[in-house]
């Protein structure tokens, strides 16, 4: 089984998921709308005063991004589980973790990137200083894939359940905490003009860890859920 | 003796902690005992029904 066919299977899964997402692109918009609405609630709930919003902004944007990803996670395996495509994936010659990596990458491209592109607009909504926006984008670029990778483990564990949605957030949110802490702090430090290299390195380390271990755990979880 | 219960003014905090601890620890002992009785009873009933 040559490596070329493994890459080919990986890219087929990726292309298939992207075409599927494109064919049902109205669903792609939901996480983005959720992201915008949740953030626009805060000025109404707390206060429109720029100084207050500025201090809140990094945390609010990151919590909203986290919840938006959580909402969109369910679609990763749900449709494949219902029509049997997930079984075919488990019965493929290739290692399941590589195929899962393809699906997670597709999920991140479909939901992570739009959140990333929306972030500057929302940073302006919350009066964030312009020099902290690059930091926000970097943390979303580094943190986004971690959210998808770790989220995939939770989705794989709850895919067989009838009402797995709420349970999914209970399983996954505690695992999101390190990413949230370092990312939100990096953005607020950048707003205050402090150095943020340390936080970004840590996010990079978390990404490397998630990239290597998460697909294997997800593959094991899928094999167990489909038993 | 009352001075002991007074706990140097922190009586409420110390005794609530120890009280809660006792409740939780004892509850986790009683629950399995009840569960064992319940299991044995259902098994007895099932066996009697099977044999009859």
């Amino acid at each position: 089984m040559s490596e070329a066919s493994l890459y080919q299977a990986f890219s087929t899964v990726l292309k298939r998921d992207l075409t599927l997402a494109y064919r049902t692109r109205t669903e792609m918009v939901n996480p983005m709308l959720f992201f915008i609405i949740v953030i626009s609630l805060f000025p109404l709930a707390v206060s429109p005063d720029p100084k207050v919003l500025q201090s809140l902004a990094p945390g609010v944007i990151w919590v909203a991004a986290l919840l938006a990803t959580l909402l969109s996670l369910d679609s990763m395996f749900r449709s494949d589980f219902d029509d049997g495509a997930l079984e075919q994936m488990l019965l493929s010659v290739h290692p399941v973790s590589v195929l899962v990596l393809g699906k997670v990458l597709a999920h991140w491209l479909v939901t992570g990137i739009p959140l990333l592109l929306l972030a500057p607009l929302l940073a302006v909504l919350l009066h964030m200083p312009s020099d902290s926006i690059p930091a926000l984008m970097t943390t979303l670029a580094l943190g986004g894939p971690i959210l998808s990778l770790v989220g995939a483990i939770g989705v794989a564990l709850t895919v067989g359940l009838r009402r797995g949605g709420v349970l999914l957030s209970l399983l996954i949110l505690p695992l999101y905490i390190p990413v949230l802490i370092f990312a939100a702090n990096a953005v607020s430090n950048a707003a205050a003009g402090l150095a943020i290299a340390g936080q970004l390195y840590f996010l990079g380390a978390l990404l490397a860890l998630a990239l290597t271990l998460a697909p294997i755990a997800t593959a094991a979880a899928l094999r167990i859920s489909l038993r | 003796m009352t001075e002991f219960f007074h706990m140097g003014g922190y009586a409420f905090f110390v005794w609530t902690s120890y009280g809660l601890a006792t409740i939780i620890l004892i509850a986790n002992v009683i629950l399995p005992i009840q569960r064992k009785k319940e299991i044995l009873n259902t098994l007895k009933r099932r066996l009697r029904r099977e044999q009859s």
Binding site: G160, L175, I177, L213 | Y10, F13, P32, K44
Partner: protein, 244 residues
């Protein structure tokens, strides 16, 4: 050792073995608990700074330690169940979860009760208490997943994966919370480092630590034996035992 480990896999062998140990563990737990509490509450001198409120550590510290220890036991039992497909390992993991959650809850409440006299408020986003709270969420997630899956073996395997993922994340979460805590709380709250513990204060802590360990052993055996009885209810030895 390997034969023992393998024999432990058979439910009946575990049931008989734990039956022998249970009275000893129970008795030891009771003695150690009483001795430790008496020593901690009466004999140990008052703390020069916190007065008598520090005596809560004889519950808080062992409970906090047990909450972490039980999670590690759950993760390793889950791994054994996954890799060698040992039914008993799944039983140990699923019986440990509620106990671990109880220890975590106890550590949280006693921590906040201890915090009130020391910091003035019931809840402080202190590094240890926050990690303890997140650990409680991990336990609740574990028990939630186990309750949600009908088939017992699938539930055990799924929870094993979750526990392994959790145990990898615990140090990361703890480090992040510590780092986050020094960031915000560092300056305001004077770090209360442990006062040089007078030996009379330290001994009850060790006794309570052993008491909690034996307590965990006792209640785990009790729950596991119930689970074995339930799962092996169709086997001859259980039926014969029931009709005695």
């Amino acid at each position: 050792m390997w034969l023992f480990f393998h024999k432990l896999g058979s439910p009946k062998y575990f049931y008989d073995l734990s039956g022998k140990f249970l009275p000893w563990f129970g008795g030891l737990t009771l003695i150690l608990m009483l001795l430790g509490s008496y020593w901690g509450l009466v004999v140990a001198p008052a703390d020069y700074q916190q007065g008598d409120s520090y005596r809560i550590i004889y519950i808080h510290v062992p409970a906090a330690w047990m909450s972490l220890f039980v999670y590690i036991v759950m993760a390793s039992a889950g791994a054994i169940g996954l890799i060698w497909k040992m039914k008993m390992a799944d039983v140990v993991a699923s019986c440990s979860a509620p106990l671990g959650a109880a220890f975590t809850f106890l550590a949280l409440v006693t921590g906040s009760l201890w915090g009130k006299p020391m910091w003035g408020t019931y809840w402080v986003w202190d590094a240890r208490l926050t990690s303890e709270l997140i650990l409680l969420f991990l336990y609740l997630g574990f028990m939630g997943l186990e309750a949600a899956i009908d088939d017992k073996r699938t539930a055990a395997n799924a929870c094993a994966v979750l526990a392994l993922v959790g145990v990898v994340n615990i140090p990361i979460i703890h480090y992040s919370v510590e780092w986050w805590n020094t960031l915000h709380q560092g300056s305001t709250v004077a770090r209360v480092d442990k006062p040089a513990m007078d030996v009379n204060m330290l001994i009850p802590l060790l006794i309570m630590w052993f008491a909690f360990m034996f307590y965990y052993g006792t209640t785990l055996f009790m729950r596991a034996r119930n689970e074995v009885l339930y799962r092996e209810r169709d086997t001859a030895w259980v039926k014969e035992m029931v009709t005695e």
